[in-house]
Every structure is written in C-alpha cells, then in structure tokens.
Symmetry: C2
Subunit: 221 residues, 2 copies
C-alpha cells in the first residue's frame, strides 16, 4: 500500500475551500487572499486599502502569522473587524483554518473579506482558501529575479502588487525583465505598481477602485 499524503492533504483542503467559497458566495462577500514574502508590505497595503474602503464597505480581515498578534493589532487600530490565526510554525494558512474562524464574523453585514496569508512566497500558493481573488505582493527590494525563481506564487495570483516602488532609484532592479518574466508565467495577471513610505502613497487608489468594481459585481451576481 502506498499512502499519497500530499494528495490526501490537498483533497481535504479543497473540500474545505469549496465549503468556504459556497458560504461566502451565498452571502455575496468578495474574498481576497493576499500572499507574499515576509516584509513585502502586505499589512501596510491592507492598512491603506482599509482607510480608502472602510467608509464605503463593510470589511473584515483574517490575519495569518506564525506568532504574535502584531498585524491584527495594526488592523484593529483602524476599527476593522479582525481575527488573528497563529499557525504556531505552520508556513501557510489552509482552508480548514479559515472555515473555523468564519463564524466569528457577522457575515450578513460583510461586503469584503481580506485574508492576509503567512509571509512566504512558496507554500501559500498551493492552498486554495475559498477566495475569489488572489494577490501576490512583491517589494522591488526583493530583486527582479523573484518571479522566475518563485513561479508558483505568480502563477497562482490574479493580481501582482509591486510595492516600495519609491526605492527603485536606490536598487539594481530590472523592471522590464521582471515584468517579462511575470507575463511569461501568467499572461493574464494584472499589475499594480505602488508605494507607501515616508515619501507618500502612490497607486493604492487604483487597487481600491478595482476592488470596488469586483465587490459591486459580486453583489449583482
């Protein structure tokens, strides 16, 4: 007998992901799964998006981290409804974890659920959480070779948010090469260049507008 552990884990995950997707669809809630390396800028992005979207939408957040509630505290400080999942060492969120916490939100009132995955450009890409849309966040400080070296995350993503674009002038970053690699991996990916730094904020309104469109489309489904 040969036990295919990976296939079994994936079957279980997909069952929970389908369950999550059905529940969230029945409540017409748009759900995002945000992936990226540690320090790509996922939580900062989330803070900025909440500042733009919260006056217009009911938004809830699930924060995935190995340890600490630092990210959840940052999000809660903005008045958002947030649940922290500490994975205690596990390198990604899975659909069962999401399923276990969904009951903690008032789903009847929600328009948008944002899930910030564990900071990891590898493992989260393999796990469907039941989301409608997957974002990969990549800081230009990570270097332009990252899409080619970590293709799974870019292949799994619908949108790429390039962050810390204001640092480009201090870095050896081949923007054209990186974008060519990304498009070769996932021709349909939508790319948003952004930054949020001491110098100001750029590109976040375009992301918020694109999300608003999808939330409205979800309501009309």
């Amino acid at each position: 007998m040969q036990l295919d552990i990976n296939a079994n884990i994936m079957d279980i995950n997909n069952t929970y992901a389908d369950k999550n997707r059905s529940l969230l669809a029945s409540k017409r809630i748009l759900t995002l799964n945000i992936m990226g390396s540690p320090g790509a800028g996922k939580t900062t992005l989330l803070e900025r998006l909440l500042a733009i979207l919260q006056p217009k939408l009911q938004v809830a957040v699930i924060e995935g981290d190995l340890a600490t509630a630092r990210d959840a505290d940052r999000i809660a400080a903005l008045g958002a409804d947030v649940i922290q999942i500490n994975t205690d060492g596990a390198c990604h969120l899975d659909a069962k974890m999401i399923s276990l916490v969904l009951g903690g939100f008032d789903l009847e009132q929600l328009d948008l659920l944002i899930i910030e995955n564990v900071g990891n450009l590898v493992c989260p890409a393999g796990f469907d959480l039941g989301e409608d849309l997957r974002l990969v966040v990549m800081s230009v400080a990570e270097g332009s070779d990252k899409p080619a070296k970590y293709p799974g995350a870019f292949l799994a993503a619908d949108w790429l948010l390039l962050t810390k674009m204001d640092l480009l002038e201090y870095l050896d970053f081949d923007l054209e090469g990186a974008l060519t690699d990304v498009k070769n991996i996932k021709p349909t990916i939508k790319i948003f260049p952004t930054f949020c730094s001491k110098k100001g904020v750029s590109g976040l309104d375009a992301v918020a507008d694109a999300l608003m469109e999808l939330v409205c489309a979800k309501k009309e489904q």
Copy 2:
C-alpha cells in the same frame, strides 16, 4: 494506529544530517547553511564572500531553488565549484538532498562548503542539513517586526546578517526594537550589519574574518 508523519520525516532528515555532518567533519570541511526570505540578499552576500575568501580557501557552493539555475550561474561566474538543487516546488532543502550531491565535489580539497537554502523565512529553519553554522539573512527593507513574527528562523540561527543597511534612511525601521526582539529570541546570536549596493560594500570583511577563524579552528580539530 496513529502515524506521526512529521516525526517520521524529521527522523529520516536527522539520520541524513548526521551522516552529512560525519562525512564533512572527517574531511575537516566547515559547512554553512544560509537561510532567509526571498530577496534578503543571500546570493549577493555569497558573491561578495567568495570574492574575499576564494584566494585563501577552497570553497564549494550548493544552491537551493524552486526553479531556474540563476543563482548557480552567478556563483559559477566567479569560478566557484557549484551544484544547483532545484526542489521543484518544495519549500526548503533537506539533508537527503545534500547527501545526494556531496559526491559531486572533491571533498579532499575543500575547506568550506556553503549551502544557500530556498528563499523562505519559515520552513528551512526546521531542517538540519548537517551544517556547522546557520546564518539567517534579513534585509532591513523587510521591516523591523520580522524577528518577532518569524521567531523560528532566528532561534535556529547562530549568526544574523542584516543586509541593505544603506536603505535605513529611506525606511521606517526600528533597529533598536528589532535587535531587542532578536536577542530575546536567541541571546547568543552574533549580528553583522552589512550592505552591498550602488553605494558600495560594508561589513562583509567582518563576516569573512569570522568565517576564516572557524575554518582554521575546524582544520585544527
């Protein structure tokens, strides 16, 4: 019956790690395992260390990546003996992978073996490869909350190399807070602040000197 899959995987890994460690010790080869997020600066660090150390030592490199031989090509361009391991999606190197490629080097001639792990601040920390020393590489562009949020990697490391220190002035990075968190997690960790950028190179000689000391001590064991 309950099958503890994780324990079983770890037992197998530790068996191979012990085998690697015995073989490398019998040849008096110092072995490093370099971990860090994608884009922390592991390969750039390696290039700079090779430039300093190669005139004095016989150095070989194992490159771990999900895909591509880009890093191995960069190292081979410096004339170093390098073997690329493509993990085909797996999020870390394990001791068996190392064991399978060690025969590809002329171990009789080697002084120093450097293993660059897959870019991931989570999974590699759990896998002993048979190394003498573990380095974690963290770019200040990743943000000062990373040690607290990813404690496993810092706990597993003997040395912390802080990279891209020349970007500090453009970032909101709490250096004192980050170092306090690191010291709380691993009081004995040795910290090297560095950068290699358009602005020049800083801090790499100290790292090379510390490595030279360990290589010499290994020869005398």
